[in-house]
């Protein structure tokens, strides 16, 4: 049994979800409508269904200071109706078309999607195009939905000490950059968001030139182009998107620690996050080298941390490392472990520090790198079995500024990573001053 549970819902400070896709033999088409809306088509003819997604290049990191949670709150409000489709109609129309729909918000993007029979794509585009520009919000709707979002925060974060710790670690890791605030927002700020905040946000970020349409499934590029021009092509831009300038993160100078003690925690755990480059922020191969480093150091049962801490020393029940590289401005490299056989968190930390020092000093072996690269590339083949996952990866990649070619070429770059690259990436990234260490301990009964 290995890696069955990721200790802290993936990495403690994972801010966005995506591993950059690599497209293998997928024939991806992309083009732009006259109004600047980007369109990506990923054919998959195995079943007569499509995944229709509209991504906006705006996320929690684009909020104004003091308005944390606004991007996510606004995502909820996008379901609240237009003059043409009043509240409840959007959902009703999707359902009578036999579709499922939902939406999600990250630090760098907001995305809306429907999964539906391929011959209903036109109707989904009509709905999505309508709410891109014609949303109408009453105070009553805004006030009720704010309560829903507050319940969401209570349910997903306040009820769960490990999630609370993850939030605190992010806040500690970023001194100035907005990645330090939670996507769902701080309770104190979300509870004060207003309808006017939502309308201002809508007007500042939702326009065709700031959107990406991704359609995956049983469609042809020509058909998607025809339907996209019909539904989205005549939307006029209400503003011209400008560069997404976030407050830069200053060069880190001091290691930070966050220690949480909570009566609701049953078992102790250790985690650490290092500020790292991302695919978008790194012009070279350092991001890919960090992906290989995560695999060598902490990938499943073959990672050094698992072999050393769990199998050999028997001080941990689980131990691993994670890196996604999907942030727009930066990302995090995370390690985590849970103790076994009554080992202390201090024992775990010492053992992890020893492994980190070893790989930073000596680098991985050529054999380790070769096997890790192969595992990463092979695992990515499974993406081909999910049209939703393919659509998500291209949408997320484009939303953080990667090109289609960069997304498709990811595994070729992984294949070029050498042991020296990994060593250099480890030395550049795994420094104490770039890190925050988090510990979660149960509050003892006595």
């Amino acid at each position: 049994m290995t890696g069955l549970r990721l200790l802290f819902s993936a990495s403690a400070v994972s801010l966005a979800l995506t591993l950059p896709a690599q497209a293998l033999n997928v024939a991806v088409s992309d083009f732009r409508l006259a109004n600047g809306m980007e369109v990506v088509v990923i054919p998959d003819h195995r079943a007569p269904v499509v995944t229709h997604m509209v991504w906006y290049r705006v996320g929690a990191a684009d909020e104004q200071s003091g308005k944390s949670g606004l991007a996510h709150f606004f995502e909820h409000l996008m379901f609240k109706g237009t003059p043409k489709h009043p509240e409840g109609e959007f959902n009703r129309i999707v359902q009578v078309n036999g579709g499922d729909d939902n939406a999600f918000t990250g630090a760098d993007y907001t995305a809306y999607f429907q999964r539906v029979a391929a011959n209903r794509l036109d109707a989904m585009m009509a709905l999505e195009a309508d709410r891109m520009q014609n949303l109408s919000l009453s105070d009553e709707v805004v006030n009720t939905e704010r309560n829903v979002v507050l319940e969401e925060r209570r349910q997903t974060t306040e009820n769960d000490p490990s999630r609370l710790l993850a939030e605190q670690m992010s806040a500690a890791l970023y001194t100035a950059h907005p990645y330090g605030r939670p996507v769902v927002g701080w309770m104190s700020e979300v509870s004060k968001l207003t309808g006017q905040d939502a309308i201002d946000f809508y007007r500042a970020h939702y326009t065709p030139a700031n959107a990406i349409l991704v359609v995956a499934g049983d469609v042809t590029p020509d058909e998607v182009k025809r339907l996209a021009e019909k539904n989205y092509g005549n939307l006029k831009n209400t503003f011209t998107p400008t560069a997404r300038l976030r407050t830069p993160e200053p060069e880190p100078v001091a290691a930070r620690r966050v220690a949480m003690v909570d009566s609701r925690a049953a078992t102790p755990s250790f985690s650490r996050a290092y500020l790292a480059v991302s695919e978008t922020s790194d012009p070279g191969l350092q991001s890919e080298a960090l992906s290989v480093l995560a695999e060598v150091l902490g990938g499943g049962s073959q990672g050094r941390l698992y072999k050393e801490l769990v199998v050999k020393q028997k001080i941990a029940a689980q131990a691993g490392a994670w890196y996604s590289g999907s942030g727009m401005d930066s990302d995090t490299f995370a390690v985590a472990a849970a103790p076994a056989n009554n080992a202390s968190l201090t024992d775990l930390e010492k053992a992890i520090d020893a492994e980190i020092a070893r790989i930073a000093q000596d680098g991985p072996t050529a054999e380790e790198v070769e096997k890790a690269r192969q595992r990463i590339i092979d695992a990515n083949v499974y993406t081909l079995d999910s049209q939703f996952e393919l659509a998500r990866q291209f949408g997320a990649g484009l939303a953080v500024g990667l090109s289609i070619d960069a997304i498709k070429g990811w595994d070729e770059r992984i294949a070029r990573v050498t042991a020296d690259d990994v060593k250099a990436a480890a030395q550049a990234t795994l420094k104490p001053e770039r890190s925050v260490t988090g510990t979660l301990a149960p509050k003892s009964a006595n």
């Binding site: 049994m1 549970r5 079943a47 999910s386």
Partner: protein, 437 residues
């Protein structure tokens, strides 16, 4: 907007009722020379193969005092088998990029296997070793024990798990369905190699085995593979299923006090078996009441109109020997009473008046139209084929299912609401500091 995940806690999914345009999936029944049967959907579009299989008998067949044995076994099959010790097996598995995981629920022990086509034969050989010749060596067993101890301790303090276990214990008192399927610290501590061997022998029989395969593989190759992988298993009878469950009548309320901002609330009572002739009308009723997230009656009232929760869902849980109906949501502690009153009001209204013609039509259109969405990947199709076999619905079920949904009437939905929804007799399980209940 992603929705409430509490239903997942039951580790059991009612068979999603799906359909697809009939031509989209062609199921072959493949019988091996050795007499092992599997359902196959052949599709060579992508270089992947997915296989799912299930052995009859899950956590409910754990002997008294050995609770968690089947669950422990899920973690031990890939820790050394045939001529490989644990590190050798793990290294081989990773090198082949194969995906292999095991799971148990109340009624069965399941395996989920996927491989790249190019590694097909080597991956199946590894699967065979795991299924037929696991070692249960002492070193990996102690390591895995530590892992289960951590998860058992975490589950024992996880409010969502606590609420659902407390509810199941109310719905199935003294019955194997009411036990903790993962065992306790004490049973995990006491588990021995012999216990795992006995569990393996008890569960892994060809008589209790169901298999589905989807992807880049033809029938002749599969027939050979079936004998190779599963042929060495004994042809003994699977464990006897538990006694038929009788769910006690409420009202009953159990609250576990926990210091947190929200209360997690589960409510429900008796449901029905999948073989019940009225299962489909009941399923449609549930869809209108609280199935499928936004737009259901409960979601409209409790979430969209009142803003009292992030999500509320209800579901039918047709276990092999007992049916359950339940719903779940989380809400601020001081709103627990108000939210629960709204829930009861909606249950009563559905039982009294049934659905409107419009609601029924919308549910039917949704259920029949969304059918194809469950069949758009190899892994999903494999899961569907296995579920249809488990529920004994027949190899033609996919082609019949939409007509069954289309035929449901207002009177049938109302009849099922009256049968299943008893607002004044609910079993209610709460974790938190609820007010007003």
């Amino acid at each position: 907007m992603l929705k409430l995940a509490l239903r997942g806690l039951f580790a059991l999914v009612l068979l999603p009722l799906l359909v697809l345009p009939a031509a989209a999936v062609t199921i072959q029944e493949v019988k091996s020379p050795g007499g092992i049967t599997a359902w196959l959907v052949e599709d060579h579009t992508i270089p992947l193969i997915a296989m799912q299989f299930a052995f009859a008998g899950g956590s409910t067949s754990d002997p008294e005092g050995k609770e968690g044995a089947a669950h422990f076994l899920t973690g031990m099959l890939d820790e050394g088998a045939a001529d490989m010790d644990s590190p050798t097996f793990q290294a081989r598995r990773e090198e082949l990029a194969m995906r292999l995981s095991f799971d148990d629920d109340q009624d069965r022990f399941t395996g989920n296997f996927q491989t790249l086509s190019r590694n097909r034969d080597a991956a199946f050989a590894l699967l065979k070793a795991a299924l037929t010749a696991p070692h249960f060596d002492a070193e990996p067993m102690e390591r895995v024990r530590q892992q289960f101890l951590v998860s058992v301790r975490d589950e024992a303090k996880d409010p969502g798990t606590m609420a659902s276990r407390q509810w199941l214990a109310m719905a199935a008192p003294g019955h194997a369905y009411g036990r903790n399927p993962h065992g306790t610290e004490a049973t995990i501590q006491a588990m021995t190699t012999d216990d795992l061997r006995a569990t393996h022998q008890r569960l892994f029989t060809r008589k209790g085995l169901l298999i589905s395969v989807v992807g880049d593989m033809d029938a002749a190759t599969l027939a050979r593979t079936l004998d190779d992988v599963f042929g060495a298993l004994p042809d003994t009878d699977p464990p006897a299923p538990p006694a038929l469950l009788t769910v006690p009548e409420g009202p009953m309320l159990k609250v576990t006090d926990m210091d947190m901002p929200q209360s997690i609330i589960l409510f429900g009572g008796a449901g029905l078996l999948r073989s019940d002739k009225d299962f489909i009308p009941a399923y449609v009723m549930n869809q209108i009441l609280g199935g499928g997230g936004l737009g259901s009656r409960l979601s409209s009232v409790v979430r969209e109109k009142k803003g009292l929760t992030y999500g509320i869902d209800t579901g039918l849980l047709p276990l092999r020997r007992g049916g359950l109906f339940f719903g779940s949501f989380s809400t601020r502690n001081d709103k627990a009473g108000e939210a629960m009153a709204l829930v009861k009001q909606e249950l009563q209204r559905m039982a009294k008046d049934g659905p409107t013609a419009e609601e029924l039509e919308q549910a039917r259109t949704y259920l029949t139209g969304s059918y194809a969405l469950r069949f758009d990947s190899n892994a999903k199709i494999a899961g569907q084929l296995l579920a249809i076999q488990q529920d004994n619905l027949g190899i033609d079920y996919i082609n019949r299912r939409n007509a069954l949904v289309e035929a449901v009437t207002i009177a049938q939905v109302k009849e099922q609401a009256q049968r299943l929804l008893h607002a004044d007799k609910l079993l209610v399980s709460v974790v938190g500091k609820p007010q007003g209940l």
